[in-house]
Structure formats: structure tokens, C-alpha cells
Symmetry: C2
DNA sequence: GCTGCTATTTTTAGGTC
DNA sequence: AGACCTAAAAATAGCAG
């Protein structure tokens, strides 16, 4: 109806091929916009369908960004729990650990235990989500484990041996329960501008939880703030 | 130009509020469509900007779906590598393990070692990405570890004690390297219809790698294919 | 569950500030 | 890096099969 404005301020969205963007500045802008779009889509999916979503993005400069509802770490935990060899015993596990270490470099060793201790800590922090399952387990295995310092492994090894017998039945019940319930206890979103920490500082940079957070400076003991988005 | 068809077959896209969808069937369809959309957006972001993205979604029925470029696990590893307590020793780690186990239920115990063995396996499978770092490590720690069966832990414990001294320097170098390179060696996408395995079967259901994969049936020893998306 | 359809909403490329 | 603008491109709600 209206005549087209002569000083057309924009020709609107242009079609671009899905291939690596050449222009650095362009790429940067697109990365920001599409990352936001992706996180928005994710949060909509969470709300609309009552599901849980975690996203991790590493920028071209290797800077991590993340979105998580209810939070990235618990979802990663849960995802990693899809278990290829569920019937492994603690002894086997430790043997594997040893085997792996035999052929590992110093760095690999560190990463091993980095990851393992990380897992353990995360594990310890939750556990409330597993409370409902506690009731179902017999306590026979708790008795022998009492004052285990360095010998805990042996004892647990034996316990595990027994434990294996109950795993499948238990697993069955767990899965049945989880597939019957649609309730995803969820109360907030988190969009994290994630970060690497090699010392012990922990900067948060989380977006979400109703409002946008205030960006914080990174705290690298050795490198300061890594540039480039 | 064309007159509008009287038998309008559709009123097109309807606006819906971003709130939990009430109708189960509707929710299911929306979940599928939007999940696909999300994964597509993610893959476009990867291609356009040369970045790495991992997504994990748990459906209302708790079934995990995932997208990852180049793959979910390595990105999760990398993400988890932002390490709150990098200086922990293997001894500490094992003690923590023991402590945690002391207060854990049978299921929790299994999940502990499930996760740990999982981590170990993942770790063993890669390592090629860390090859460049192998050179930098001294081999002093390899000598004592030779015929370690049940005693591997003690030996490694000692080794770790020494190893701690090199960690920070090593970490520094790793981080420097990774933040200086923009090259994200990437050659394919993976869209995993992930799964829980409580026995030992490993179904892949991976989409991507240039083409769409052929869906496979799940292989649960106890429950067959778990319904609901 | 899926594919296809279509009308509409939503995203976003390329600008400017 | 953001916020805003425009108009074209892309995603998708509701329905059919």
C-alpha cells in the first residue's frame, strides 16, 4: 500500500549459506546472536515441555558458554550415568584405573583424577535426588563398612560383589519410576557464561534465574582474562 | 495473486504462550519438533562459526537425547575440566570415595562406580588429543608401576604426591595452548538419541556424520523399549 | 511416533547507533 | 559487546495421513 521508502534502511534478512563465515567481525556477531537464539530456544523447550536441557558451547577462542535448566552440572552427571558397564566391580574399576595410569602421561594422570574427584564431589553434593531410592536398599552392606581407612577398597570390593546381584532389579525399578513420572522439579533457568579454573577461584557468570546477571571478571592466576569472545 | 482456497487446509502457525503445554499429545509433538529445531540450530552454529556445541535433553519421561559436535563426551570432559580442586591427590580421591560410600545407599554406590568407570573408559578412549603433552612429562613415575595388581593404588598414591608439583605448570601450558589456537578440528556432527544402559548393551542411535542414521531398537534386558519419546 | 502441508510467528542478516 | 531497525528467511502449530 505505502510506497516503498526510497531511503530503505535495510534490505532485511539476507540468506547465507550454512558454511563457515569468513569475515571475522561478521562471525563474531553471528555467534553472539545465534548463541542467544539457541539458548532462548532451549529455555522455551524447557518451559513448554517441562524438560531439562543443558548446552555447552565453546567459542572460536575456546571460551565456554553454557545454558542449563535446572543446571548444567547435574544434567551432565545424569547424562554420564548412562552406564556402558554397569556390572563392573570396584576392584575392576580400580584395576582399570591402574591400567590406564600405566600408559598415561603425567597430564593424563592428572586429568584422570581431576575428573574422578570432580565426579565424586558432584556426587556428594546431590544425592537428595536419590533419597527416594535409599529406602529400597537393604542395609547389609553398611555394617561391614565402618572404620575403613585405607582398607575401604577391599571391603567395598566384597560389598560390590554382592551388590551386583541386586543391580538389575534395582535398575529396573529406578527406570520404571522415572519413566512413569512427568514431574520435573524445576524452578529456574540458568545461563552460564562458563569458565575454566585451574587454580581454585570460581567465578560464576550465570545468566538467568529471572534476571540477567552482572558479568564478572575472570580470575586466572596465570593468564588473566582470555580475550576474544 | 491466487485467490485463497476456500477449503483452507490450515490456519497456519498459531501463537502459543511460553508455558507448560497441557495436552499430552500436543506436548509430545512440540517436544519432538522443537528438539529437532534446537539441534538443527546448534549444528548451524557449529558450521557457521566453527565452534563446538554439546546439548543434553532429558525428555518428560527422562529419556536422554543429545547433540554434540564433535561429540558430547569430549565436550563434557572439557567443560568439567574447569576444576575447583585441581590439586587433589589420588589418596584423597580414594578416601573421598570411601567416605562417600560410607554414607551411600546401595544404589548410590553403584552410581558412584558407574560414573567413575564410565569416566575411566571415556578417558582411555581418547588420549590421542593429549599426545602432544606426553612429551613434556618425565617418566619417573612409570618405573615403579609395573606389576601392580591390587597394590596399584598405593604406588599411584605416591606417584600422585609427586605429580601434584607439576600440575599447575602443566595446566598453565595446556590452557595457553588451547586458548591460542582457533582451530577446532572438526569433521562431523553427531546427534545422539542417547539411552540408558543397565546391562551392557550399547546402542548408538547417532545422527549426523554427513547423513542421517538408521534408527535402532533399544536393547534393555529388563524393560524392552521404554515408551514415551 | 513420522512426514507433509500451510499460514503465521519467530528468527535473524545486515545495517545504524 | 550490546540495542534497535527492517524485511526476508526460517521455524513451527495445528492438522492430515
Amino acid at each position: 500500500m505505502m510506497m516503498k521508502k526510497t531511503n530503505k534502511s535495510s534490505q532485511g534478512r539476507q540468506k547465507i549459506p550454512i558454511a563457515k563465515i569468513a569475515k571475522r567481525t561478521n562471525l563474531q556477531v553471528t555467534f553472539s546472536k545465534r548463541r542467544s537464539g539457541l539458548f532462548k530456544k532451549a529455555s522455551e523447550l524447557c518451559t513448554l515441555c517441562g524438560v531439562e536441557v543443558a548446552i555447552v558451547v565453546f567459542s572460536p577462542a575456546n571460551k565456554p558458554y553454557s545454558f542449563g535448566h535446572p543446571d548444567v552440572d547435574s544434567l551432565i552427571d545424569r547424562f554420564l550415568a548412562r552406564n556402558p558397564n554397569f556390572n563392573i566391580s570396584l576392584a575392576d574399576s580400580c584395576q582399570q584405573l591402574g591400567e590406564a595410569h600405566k600408559n598415561a602421561s603425567a597430564n593424563e594422570l592428572n586429568m584422570h583424577l581431576t575428573r574422578i574427584s570432580n565426579q565424586i564431589e558432584t556426587e556428594r553434593k546431590r544425592g537428595e535426588s536419590l533419597d527416594k531410592l535409599s529406602k529400597t536398599s537393604e542395609c547389609w552392606w553398611e555394617n561391614p563398612v565402618d572404620e575403613l581407612g585405607q582398607d575401604e577398597l577391599r571391603i567395598l570390593e566384597a560389598a560390590m560383589e554382592e551388590l551386583k546381584k541386586n543391580v538389575n532389579e534395582q535398575a529396573n525399578r529406578i527406570w520404571m519410576e522415572s519413566s512413569n513420572t512427568t514431574s520435573i522439579a524445576s524452578s529456574f533457568f540458568m545461563m552460564n557464561n562458563a569458565h575454566h579454573i585451574f587454580e581454585n577461584s570460581r567465578s560464576s557468570d550465570q545468566v538467568g534465574s529471572d534476571s540477567i546477571n552482572i558479568p564478572r571478571a575472570y580470575d586466572f592466576g596465570f593468564a588473566g582474562n582470555i580475550g576474544l569472545f
